[in-house]
């Protein structure tokens, strides 16, 4: 009983340690004034309202969505078919993808940024496209794991064989059997990738900077001018990430149920 109480205490301590800065930041986004008191002196929607009236923010938000969703879409179009073909027909090549996945994790953002600038800045390609390309490669681990795990749960090769023997073409088998079956895993991987890219700062700031102002760069700028506005940006970011996490959790749960054979 005593041990249980001690465990609960440390658990609450940990939760408090993790949540306190987040809650404080969120509260600061609604605080009318919070300088000399423990709690805010009053609450207001002024900062959020100001933020949504700022076209710079709206444009930055749009750019972040465009960049993240563009990279995810390209990854889905290019990487997913490649993973399907490799897993189903050339499984011996899978080790190369796994190696690429590890390499993605092993490159620090600063090294990557300097490398990209040195290689691409002189050859005329718009640097935002270079960042987009780097993002596509950067989310390989999430897309790969999502697709691979879904395919592993279902013996995809045998499902394809079964569908073909029942008169389906390879395309029909892929569309009617494989895609609906792996869709939840794929969707969760795509959402996860989107949330990672939406919050990315190092690469976009070093390679492109204010020429393509995303939410993260806007946030950086606002930190020096208004703490309340910066907190409001963080609040919106946290809400968005919370929503994405919620959707991922639901989709992943459904995915587990569907393939529990």
């Amino acid at each position: 009983m005593k041990k249980r109480g001690l465990a609960d205490f440390f658990f609450l301590l940990l939760v408090g340690y993790l949540l306190l800065p987040v809650l404080a930041t969120m509260l600061y986004a609604f605080a009318s004034k919070w300088n000399k008191t423990i709690l805010p002196e009053g609450l207001t929607l002024k900062w959020l309202s100001t933020l949504f009236q700022d076209t710079d923010f709206i444009q930055a938000f749009g750019r972040s969505v465009l960049l993240a969703s563009g990279a995810v879409s390209i990854a889905l179009l290019v990487i997913v078919p490649a993973i399907f073909v490799i897993v189903l027909y050339f499984p011996t090549y899978e080790k190369w993808i796994q190696m690429a996945v590890v390499m993605v994790y092993s490159f620090p953002g600063i090294i990557l940024a300097v490398g990209l600038i040195r290689v691409y800045s002189q050859i005329g390609i718009p640097m935002i496209l270079v960042v987009l390309g780097a993002y596509v490669v950067g989310i390989l681990p999430y897309i790969y794991q999502g697709t691979r795990n879904s395919l592993r749960n279902i013996d995809a090769r045998q499902l394809l064989d079964a569908a073909q023997l029942l008169g389906a073409s390879k395309r029909q088998a892929f569309k009617k059997i494989l895609l609906p079956t792996v869709y939840p895993g794929l969707f969760a991987g795509a959402l996860l990738s989107f949330s990672v890219l939406f919050g990315e700062f190092v690469l976009i700031n070093l390679v492109v900077g204010s020429r393509f102002e995303t939410v993260q760069i806007y946030l950086m700028k606002k930190l020096s001018t208004s703490g309340h506005i910066a907190s409001a940006v963080v609040f919106i970011y946290i809400v968005l990430m919370g929503l994405l996490t919620f959707v991922i959790a639901i989709v992943t749960k459904r995915s587990k149920g569907a393939t529990n054979l």
Partner: protein, 334 residues
């Protein structure tokens, strides 16, 4: 004319030879079993017949039509897989209807045929269930219904019952045989279970190391094994060298071969006219339900099987016994 003909089939993966010169003639409505240990190439034959794997050499014809280059979807060959391969995103009804939908059969016919097929496999009440909600036996029945509904010319069964427990497996073996007879369908079953092969087949092809070691009816295979591999794989034959058996029997055997086989149940303790005798000390006894299997140490080790009688078991361990066998039950192996 044979319904399905396999001629000179070879398969190689790189330097490794998986199948060597496979030849089979199968009649319409026959239930054929490919029996052999794991890795002997029996599933590869099924995949080549289905068009899922290309042969390195050889020819397959179904109803006189050469299958070379014909896509799996156009072969009219059905297949039931060991892992069922049911589509997890579809209900039982949708799974069974899938093949008909691909053939663009009209909705009314699909519904009627799906109901008939589900009734045949006793799963009408599970029509709206998803595969994950069914037991292994039920999933296998759905897989069977899904394969049968498109009326394939040949149905291939790749160890369909091996993942099921013994009781359900025996029930499904009987169901499978009854359905095959009712539909007069040509079926090829792959299994490594000799009892299953004996129970359901018209003919058995025993395979070893990528080639056919022997083929024949279950009775022929069981009572006349061609060689030591078959004798060991089918049942629990006692295999003796000529020298050991001649010493034990005290006679010179006339057949020109180096090894002989005797079925354990052909040995008995009571002497009958013309019997030959081998002696041994009883070493171990194992009860296997209705059978008692006793191991004797003679010139070499051998086993005898007796039916388990109500009055009990009379052989004492460590004691010497004379076991008798009829001349015709001593089988010369090639």
């Amino acid at each position: 004319m044979s319904y399905l003909v396999i001629e000179g089939l070879h398969k190689k993966y790189g330097q490794s030879t998986v199948l060597t010169n496979i030849n089979m003639d199968i009649q319409k409505g026959e239930f054929i079993t490919l029996l052999g240990p794991s890795g002997c190439g029996k599933s590869t034959i099924l995949r080549i017949v289905a068009g899922l794997t290309d042969a390195s050499a050889g020819k397959i014809t179904i109803e006189g039509k050469d299958m070379s280059g014909v896509q799996p979807k156009d072969r009219q060959v059905g297949m039931v897989f060991q892992s069922y391969a049911l589509f997890p995103n579809m209900t039982v009804q949708e799974n069974v209807a899938f093949g008909l939908r691909m053939q663009k059969v009209n909705a009314t016919d699909i519904e009627q045929r799906v109901q008939e097929m589900l009734a045949l496999v006793h799963l009408s009440e599970k029509a709206n269930a998803y595969p994950k909600e069914l037991s292994g036996g039920q999933q296998q029945r759905v897989a069977l219904a899904r394969a049968l509904i498109v009326r394939p010319k040949v149905l291939l069964l790749d160890e369909p019952l091996s993942a099921l427990d013994a009781q359900i497996r025996k029930k499904l073996q009987a169901d499978l045989r009854a359905i095959q007879r009712k539909l007069n369908m040509t079926m090829i079953l792959v299994t490594h279970d000799q009892e299953e092969a004996m129970a359901v087949s018209d003919r058995i092809f025993v395979m070893n190391n990528g080639s056919i070691a022997q083929n024949g009816t279950p009775t022929e295979i069981y009572t006349r094994p061609d060689n030591e591999f078959i004798a060991n794989f089918i049942g629990h034959y006692n295999v003796f060298t000529r020298q050991a058996l001649e010493q034990m029997l005290g006679v010179t055997l006339l057949e020109h071969c180096s090894k002989f086989a005797i079925r354990p149940e052909a040995l008995h303790l009571d002497q009958r006219d013309g019997d030959m005798c081998i002696a041994g000390i009883a070493k171990q006894s194992l009860m296997n339900g209705n059978i008692i299997r006793t191991t004797f140490d003679g010139e070499t080790m051998f086993t005898m099987e007796q039916l388990h009688q109500q009055q009990g078991y009379s052989i004492e361990m460590g004691k010497s016994y004379k076991c008798y066998v009829a001349k015709e039950d001593v089988i010369a192996l090639s």
